[in-house]
Symmetry: C2
Subunit: 598 residues, 2 copies
Amino acid sequence: MRHTHSGGGLFPHAENHDVFTGLLRQVIDDYYRWHAQCAEAAAPALIDSVPETAAQCTAGPAGNLDAVANLVRELSGRLAHQATPIPSPLYLAHMTPDIPVAASLAHLCAMLYNPNNVTPETAPVTTELEHEVSEDLCRLIGYQPDTGWAHLSSGGSAANFEAMWIARNLRSVPSAAAAHPAAADLVSDRSPLVLANMPVPQVLDLVEALSARGLLPEVARLAAEQRRKAHTSGTLLLARSAHYTWDKCADLLGLGPADVQEVELTPLHRVDVHALGRRVRALLADGQPILAVVAMCGSSGEGAVDDLDAILRLRADCERRFGASFYVHVDAAFGGYSRSLWLRPDGTMAPFEDRPLDGSGTRMKPEVHAAFRALPRADSVTVDPHKSGHSPYPAGALVFRDRRAVSLVARESMYFGHGNGSRIPFGPHTLEGGRPGAAAAAVWAAHRQIGLHSQGYGRLLGGCIATAQRLHERFSAPRQTQPAAGCDMASEVISCFPPDLNILNLSVRRGAGEYGRVPDGALGRLALDSILAEAAGKPLTSLYVSGNTLSGRPLPGGVEQVLRLCTMKELGPATLDVVERQLRAAVSRSVATAVAPL
Amino acid sequence: MRHTHSGGGLFPHAENHDVFTGLLRQVIDDYYRWHAQCAEAAAPALIDSVPETAAQCTAGPAGNLDAVANLVRELSGRLAHQATPIPSPLYLAHMTPDIPVAASLAHLCAMLYNPNNVTPETAPVTTELEHEVSEDLCRLIGYQPDTGWAHLSSGGSAANFEAMWIARNLRSVPSAAAAHPAAADLVSDRSPLVLANMPVPQVLDLVEALSARGLLPEVARLAAEQRRKAHTSGTLLLARSAHYTWDKCADLLGLGPADVQEVELTPLHRVDVHALGRRVRALLADGQPILAVVAMCGSSGEGAVDDLDAILRLRADCERRFGASFYVHVDAAFGGYSRSLWLRPDGTMAPFEDRPLDGSGTRMKPEVHAAFRALPRADSVTVDPHKSGHSPYPAGALVFRDRRAVSLVARESMYFGHGNGSRIPFGPHTLEGGRPGAAAAAVWAAHRQIGLHSQGYGRLLGGCIATAQRLHERFSAPRQTQPAAGCDMASEVISCFPPDLNILNLSVRRGAGEYGRVPDGALGRLALDSILAEAAGKPLTSLYVSGNTLSGRPLPGGVEQVLRLCTMKELGPATLDVVERQLRAAVSRSVATAVAPL
């Protein structure tokens, strides 16, 4: 039995090829049998009554199976020759995972029935699976499945947009309640300062009380009016490293440019909690609403994990000092599944000391563990099954600590008809409404094949993180690479900082020699272009990396462009040798080209 | 050779079962070969260097193929027994289409490679297919593919949100330009009244000029500030029948409740253009910004097609009278593909007289044809391939007449780097950013198997519309159904109005006899509950319909609840007999139950 890095039974491999094909044949047989039953069992007498135009349609181009075969063969051939080689050990560019066989098969199987999880009427089986996935995700984050909630989305952007939409609406409920004659008594004991930034659980209690009085729609409308009149929906605070999706989000929600405050970074590219604290306290003391504080758990560019524990301690401190507080959303689109590193089979989280990543002593950082341990205290979390969850696109997700929050964007009045533990309909309680049932089936299958605990996803993602750490070690000390032939310009490739998760940033610097007019900040871009150009010519055998802009690191020639390696797989020492060699060679080659005399 | 309604070669059928399985086997073989090449070709020497944890992972539960087989068999079995019987001739409930074999195979094929069309780097083949689909959709709507643009989305909601986001930002550019010292000269000849509602092509020229001066980001920020200060982003006008997605949209974008004006309906459930005209002229004359007028082309509940031609003539008239205008977006999520009824192979649109739907003289209404003919003059159109496009979920789309509009929400500065005909990157120019390449492949294949013209989609959808019309005829005259045994309450089922497309609304009314306290408006709900209860017990052989609330028709007992039939297939006379019989029986039964003495 041969093994590759991709795992004999988890990912596609010669040894499961026949099983995969056989299962899919069964799936297709089931589907064709069902389809025939649907078309015929309802009324066997109808079979001969085919309308004329449908018969023509059948005989016409649309019914031409040779044409279908040509289409499919063309597509399959193009993909098998040109698709991005995601399973390659040398593919270290994007967050795209290789797909476990169970997830592929489940997706293919469910897709055939074309379920839309907007309502159980159109998708009785896959909405059920999405409810199971919802409970899975609550447990992954550390929320109670009977009071929390989760749903799938098209991706992390939609999940983040929805969270901020909820936070924006939530923030303005207390002041609106105070202004409504039939609701004012519910908040009459609160100062204006507290009304502007009431702690989230208290707002949700208020929302429930308003709903019980039938006043929620009216108060929500009043809140919208007040937001307009106040010229602000509150301030959104987040790390400067945050993904550009947040800019988009602020514009979409109608926030003004001044409503978004980007907070300084630490050298590890995490939000500077001291700087955040100064801003938050100033806003609270002034009675200015804070829309939300967004913490990153695996920033897109750096995989950085903000110090969530400190952010939540800051919040607790503010509640003590001001009686006022703020909504905390965590963008863990990339990092969320890594909490499984410490999850015991019973769902509890192991303490830090328990788990080195492998025999070599590679360990997670204690403060990263602390951030994951703090996750259950955040109000909502974005986590993408189609990233570290190893599910196929499209499968993002938004997870709520308190399911009552969804009533702030719901489009129907049954907000609290469903008690704890009952099932919230997906369609009217989500930004996008519809979603493919096939995505729910795939995530459901991936969770069950891999396991949402330290021995399942924990082992898989621990291997990815250990790989990033090993690469960091190889690039952590300055070591000049040899100049390319005919060029006396040496270069250095240096890891910018030890990674929190499985993304590594490599800085390309000048070595000995003169670089003329090529600024330091641009060397990374040159190296990236060279690597991508090589990969374009030999897609299956080349190294793939991506680029990043380190916003906190201005250099001569502009913001520093670095090489970004996202290690979505575990690599052994021999493969790491190849990666290191190819990387140094590409950098040396591109630097030489860049500085060659004109 | 047997035919069913579903078409021998287009949809799954016994005669293409083997071809489907055979093609899929080839697809899987290609995929496994590619996967092995990715994993091994890069470095054959690495095969033995499997890291320890990956080997354990392989040997552990995740690599257990028996467990995978059980998961997949469970899922397949549940779907084949409980999935909504979409292909059934008696399934007339939702907009969910049966999926042509080419689209299923293409989706399955592409999904295996897990492409994300956020960037060609992760999806070189399927972004190419999405560009081809973009051109297809421009031609379907009647836009120029080299100056228009389209992209896929998770569905109609996301597409509508994006269109309104763009319209909101676009509307406020001229006033902001006037307030910017370096841009004011571009609009110095316009009155405040025109600045508030500048015609869309002029705004896009202005946007291009601002971009050329490098001023667009600054002016966009200024526009956001001005929107806040003005307490409005402009008024959104749409028919009262519009989907609840528009409420959601307004709240998401931070519009105030007063910013949405619902316009009265005609008896055919189209927007009343005279009433719309009065409101529009009042706003323009007063210099109040109009965010957009949204026309429905196939409303969710009724399939109603607004008189778009009259709306666009209204716009032309306003431009003549005021020099001011408004953005027109069309929500053709359901109806857009029906434009293919008149599309010639060269992409031009045939005049009305050309095409009866079938030999029986069934025809489209002239005003519906006129609306489709007017579609190319609208600014943007939402159209869902996963509805009438017969593609699997998730595949919505947004189509733009003038691709420059996307610069109003783009997150990178290369707005006009790409000239006419060049390709706009999908990721930074769309609301959701990422999207599954599998969706692009499926839509691409469906378009090619069926054909975007009168003999392809035109024939398929013409059959669906003819079916709705034939059902309308059967229910257009009052005809009392027999009371159920032991009950003297007869009932009537009456088509509310002749359908514009393939959705029929049926009103349930009291016949002779006394109904006690059951109000007329609730009878439809009772009948629907009865039909759904029956279907739940016999999923493969029952009639399925859905419900609707006719907002324009208040009745004693509240807004009228009606039965809604969405005919996503063509039915022959014998099947129509069965549908009619089952419907009348269900209504009679449920009315009898409802009025039975306690």
